[in-house]
């Protein structure tokens, strides 16, 4: 995914539902806590491979986690 201004995500909610810390989620994804924080706060849009990893981890489709505003909130 390219860096965009309007890409929102439900990462923080999904992570909270599983009671995972940012560091824990980062460990499961193979990225740093800072990367998870940047994605959650919308400062960084993950690459497509990382987005797929997230989708598999949460057992959801990518568009259920990320919303670019084109089709409304997922």
């Amino acid at each position: 995914m390219t860096a965009g201004d309007d890409l929102r995500n439900r990462l923080k909610v999904l992570r909270a539902e599983r009671d995972w810390s940012q560091a824990e989620l980062g460990g499961r994804l193979g990225v740093s806590r800072q990367a998870v924080n940047a994605i959650e706060t919308g400062k960084y849009d993950p690459s497509l491979p990382l987005a797929f990893k997230l989708a598999r981890l949460f057992d959801m489709r990518i568009e259920e986690i990320f919303d670019d505003g084109e089709y409304g909130a997922s």
Partner: protein, 167 residues
């Protein structure tokens, strides 16, 4: 780019982002200030000594303030091996190096413009080993610290904290 990875801290040591802003700004300002002070020293033994002492002090200050930056978390993003960084850190590195490249190009253009004008107007131009040695280490310092300085001014403390509690 340089990054000093100590045995104790592979992720880089942690001066705060604010501290890194101050350190990089002081280092990048003090080095050219010191060189200029020494270059512009007037004739006369007393004045020459004073200018050279102040110039050396400023250059020393630039090196002292650069030293802790070279092992910092931000310098790791800029200077560590790419395989040790995750995709977010690589993204930050790309932005930092792009911004530093633009700044460095601008400074180089200004230097060339100055050199062109200096020959016409009889201004100071670098001659000899001392002048070019100072320019070489200045270029080295700027190429090492400009990307880190960009990151220090772009990021906030929470962006780099190792735990959510401190973010």
């Amino acid at each position: 780019m340089l990054f000093f990875r100590s045995a104790a801290s592979h992720a880089g040591v942690g001066p705060s982002v604010t501290t890194l802003r101050v350190l990089t700004a002081v280092s990048l300002a003090a080095y050219p200030a010191g060189c200029l002070t020494m270059t512009l020293a007037p004739d006369g033994r007393g004045a020459l000594f004073l200018y050279e002492a102040v110039g050396l002090a400023l250059i020393t200050l630039a090196l002292i303030t650069a030293a802790p930056v070279l092992g910092s978390r931000l310098q790791r993003i800029v200077g560590d091996e790419a395989k040790r960084l995750d995709e977010y850190e690589l993204h930050l590195r790309h932005r930092a190096i792009s911004a530093a490249y633009a700044s460095f190009t601008g400074l180089t253009c200004l230097a060339v413009l100055y050199a062109a004008l200096a020959s016409d107007f009889g201004w100071w131009t670098p001659r000899g080993y001392d002048a070019f040695n100072a320019i070489f280490w200045g270029v080295f310092l700027y190429s090492s610290l400009l990307p880190t300085a960009f990151l220090a001014w772009k990021l906030e403390e929470g962006d780099l904290a190792h735990s959510e509690a401190s973010a």
